[in-house]
């Protein structure tokens, strides 16, 4: 798949593939609109990219399910074909590339050497560190080694998916492989987290395209996510929000409220605490998103979503039951439980007191004797 040659400009490749200047301006205008960038950025991005050498991208996959790449290859605007063949030089991706084994690894080594300090490293998946890194090895090298080596010459690292960004499913308690997010391993490079399980494809491609056209990491939030896409919650932009404001909630997935499209908050929707662009960009080319399909948001773009309890408990629900519905028998169980814990602690305390009393008496006897 290696099609990299830094002598070739993006403009040349566009012309070669029959993409006109106007077509490219239009495409960049659409990307700028998607990213909520100022409208003048579209033509400026097009101009900058046309005269730039095709940027080199090295895409590494570690402890992951390939869902992020499945999502990326379904991007509509820009499409992955646009990105691969017209804009970037994807020099290494072990799933998409035709080469394998030594040929693939030497293509990666060459791309990293030729573009040292300039390439973008895309990482998909968490990095297992347990058992000396043996849980994820390729070509005899652990993920930790491969990541550290590839990060050295990267201009920036883009972590696609919640695994690379925050540890993800592999990081979930009890984290059997001692997995870590990329930011825990590499600390001296600009890192952009494009979280989600998987992320929205246009968010991934838009983030890459903005970096290539401006050479700058976009404005990021506290979790290093691009503010253009992660600036507002799903809830803020949800088309069901008016029902939330009116206090109209579906109570089950098949009641009248669900059929009427009312708010899914009480069915566990995590939209109010989840920052992502699903409600505006949507999925599959803007067709729909989970809430539009009748299911609450899982909060998959947020750190720790995997360990935050049931997907079907309302956000306001305490750990012991649904909000406002703590049944009398649960209260009794809790009270009895507390009493039992108290009894155990009391017994332990009494026992400890007796032990100390006994130790004091022994010491006094020794002193007297």
């Amino acid at each position: 798949m290696s099609i990299g040659n830094d002598e070739l400009t993006v403009g040349y490749m566009l012309m070669k593939h029959g993409v006109s200047r106007r077509g490219f301006i239009k495409y960049c205008t659409a990307v700028a609109s998607t990213m909520a960038l100022p409208p003048w950025m579209g033509p400026a991005m097009a101009e900058q990219l046309r005269s730039a050498a095709r940027p080199c991208v090295v895409y590494l996959s570690f402890q992951e399910c390939t869902g992020c790449l499945e999502s990326l290859t379904r991007s509509f605007a820009p499409t992955i074909e646009d990105l691969i063949f017209n804009t970037i030089s994807l020099d290494y991706n072990d799933t998409l590339m035709a080469a394998a084994g030594e040929a693939a690894e030497s293509a990666r080594a060459k791309a990293m050497k030729d573009n040292f300090g300039k390439y973008v490293l895309v990482v998909d998946g968490s990095v297992p560190t347990g058992a000396g890194g043996a849980y994820c090895t390729a070509g005899g090298r652990t993920a930790v080694e491969t990541l550290r080596e590839a990060a050295k010459g990267a201009a920036a690292i883009v972590c696609v998916g919640s695994c690379a960004a925050f540890g993800g499913i592999a990081f979930a308690d009890p984290n059997p492989t001692s997995a870590w997010p990329v930011s825990a391993i590499v600390e001296d490079k600009p890192i952009v987290n494009v979280s989600g399980c998987p992320p929205i494809p246009e968010v991934m491609t838009g983030t890459l395209l903005q970096f290539f056209s401006t050479g700058q990491v976009p404005d990021l939030d506290q979790h290093r996510r691009p503010k253009a896409f992660f600036g507002t919650t799903i809830h803020d932009r949800c088309y069901r929000r008016p029902f939330y404001d009116q206090g109209k909630f579906a109570k089950t997935f098949d009641d009248e409220g669900a059929r009427n499209g009312w708010c899914l908050y009480e069915l566990g929707c995590k939209g109010p605490t989840t920052y992502n662009a699903c409600a505006t960009l949507k999925w599959n080319g803007g067709v729909s998103f989970p809430i539009q399909s009748g299911h609450g948001c899982l909060g998959c773009a947020e750190p720790g979503f995997w360990d935050k309890g049931s997907f079907y408990s309302a956000l306001s629900t305490p750990a012991w039951g649904k909000a406002g519905e703590t049944a009398p028998h649960r209260v009794l169980e809790l009270t009895a439980g507390a009493a039992a814990v108290g009894a155990v602690l009391g017994a332990a305390s009494a026992g400890l007191s007796r032990l100390r009393q006994h130790e004091r008496e022994v010491d006094e006897d020794r002193t007297r004797s």
Binding site: R21, K26, A30, A32, S33, P39, W40, E256, N260, G286
Partner: protein, 156 residues
Amino acid sequence: MARPVSRLAEIPVRIEPAAQGAEPCAGLGGGVAALLAELAALLAGLTDSGRPAAIDLRSLPMSPQDRGELERALGEGEVRATIQADGVSIVRETGISGVWWVEHRNARGELMAELLEVAHVPEILASSVDEVAAAARALQARLGLSHATMSARSET
């Protein structure tokens, strides 16, 4: 008890008229009046400094009623251009000279971007310098003329 709403389209939308004393935009929704005021400022910038600008309509939360009002307020101009480049783009001059309504659609006809551009001519319509130079070279080659000959002719 109110009848349950089963479709989004059934949620009534009411346009609040502009506050009194807001002439000359009285009768327009607040969002449309603000948009027209922004266009006026951008047109002044184009006149004074030649600086083009644009407003991304997809970034604005406009109801269908707002949109209809905006279209009526801007009106239709004399120019309408269609571009065939990876899908259709339509560039319409509005009744306000210098304000262009631009729609970009992909090959499947889906709307990718919608802008109000404030410019003498939207950039996407104009031919670029390098394209014109390349076209001149190609045409000269087709006619069997040298670049030096053509340059001499253009100077006379």
